[in-house]
Symmetry: C2
Subunit: 197 residues, 2 copies
């Protein structure tokens, strides 16, 4: 992949939130490592330490847990322009409770923990970028949690496709059901009802 295309989405994501000089952008780029994943390939495996946060340039990733009965629970999807990681493991150095894999062939930019620490020292404006990023993720997650406590299955689904229309077309239905914490049969019934209205 051409370097310019690879970094374009990342730099525009950063520039939406903070103003970097041309030099700072170059410094920034130097801390990221490009990585490609094939569909179904794992980026992080349960019980490994998550040494990076990953920016999605192309494709779709998901993080998920597997419970004692062997059932998968999707924690997060990440499409182009999104970040994905196990923040807990990344920050504490403890083994991860998540798996992260690709639902489509994917191109990523990885930022390791030492690279992030050094980047924040060299380009302090990036503190602001990550603060805003964390803040926005927090807001989204809080709304999702409130949804999981107080919305019906149908409301959860319609909220999801309103916010991320892409997901409904690109992610298999049973993955979406898992993300919403509902049974695939329930999702299938809801979709039929919505189409017949």
């Amino acid at each position: 992949m051409k370097e310019d295309t690879t970094f374009q989405l990342l730099l525009s994501s950063i520039n939406e939130k903070v103003r970097l000089t041309e030099t700072e952008m170059q410094v920034c780029k130097s801390f990221f490592t490009p990585k490609k994943l094939l569909k179904k390939q794992l980026l992080l495996q349960h019980q490994e330490v998550c040494h990076f946060i990953a920016f999605v340039v192309q494709g779709i990733l998901r993080s998920y847990t597997v419970d004692a009965k062997g059932n998968e629970h999707v924690v997060q999807f990440a499409l182009e322009g999104w970040w994905i990681s196990d923040n807990y493991s990344f920050l504490t150095g403890e083994p991860s409770t998540y798996n992260i894999d690709a639902l489509e062939d994917a191109e990523l930019l990885l930022l390791s923990r030492p690279a992030m620490d050094e980047l924040l020292l060299k380009v302090p404006a990036m503190e602001r970028y990550f603060r805003i990023l964390m803040q926005n993720s927090l807001v989204a997650l809080q709304r999702r949690l409130v949804g999981s406590l107080s919305y019906t299955a149908e409301e959860k689904y319609t909220n999801l496709i309103r916010t991320y229309p892409d997901i409904a077309q690109r992610v298999p239905q049973h993955q979406i059901a898992s993300y919403l914490g509902i049974k695939p049969e329930t999702l299938s019934r809801i979709r039929k009802q919505l189409t017949s209205r």
Copy 2:
């Protein structure tokens, strides 16, 4: 209340994460507004814009939503040393979907949006403090969400009291049940089972 005592907890929370000079600490303090709340008094009402983030010096606050059927759903508790707000409303200026009230008489330090913006300009090290704060909240919320998808009611409760032993003693049981998204009867049964073991 004496000024020193009021700010002590806030400054120690900040100093755990970033190093501020004595001057920066004084600047910091100047942006916060102390506020007292009586038990049951509202700090934020549904459909108002949330103009602040609040640091709890003393007491317990909770944020909650009320669904179409009039049922309350607790989103968050905040004890001494914690922050509480509706981040979404605070960041976007949109009306809040939350209420925030005091479960005990409380002393707070409020930081308004303009005050926060100016504080971040005058003391850039605070970008780092808030980045770490948001990051930690994100991690906690993500773990809670994973819990809500894959844990049993008993696991949810024992995780909560392991992490925050104070909450079980200070917050009424029906509030805890609401936070966990389980029925008060279920929580009561779980508590009996745990005591009889």
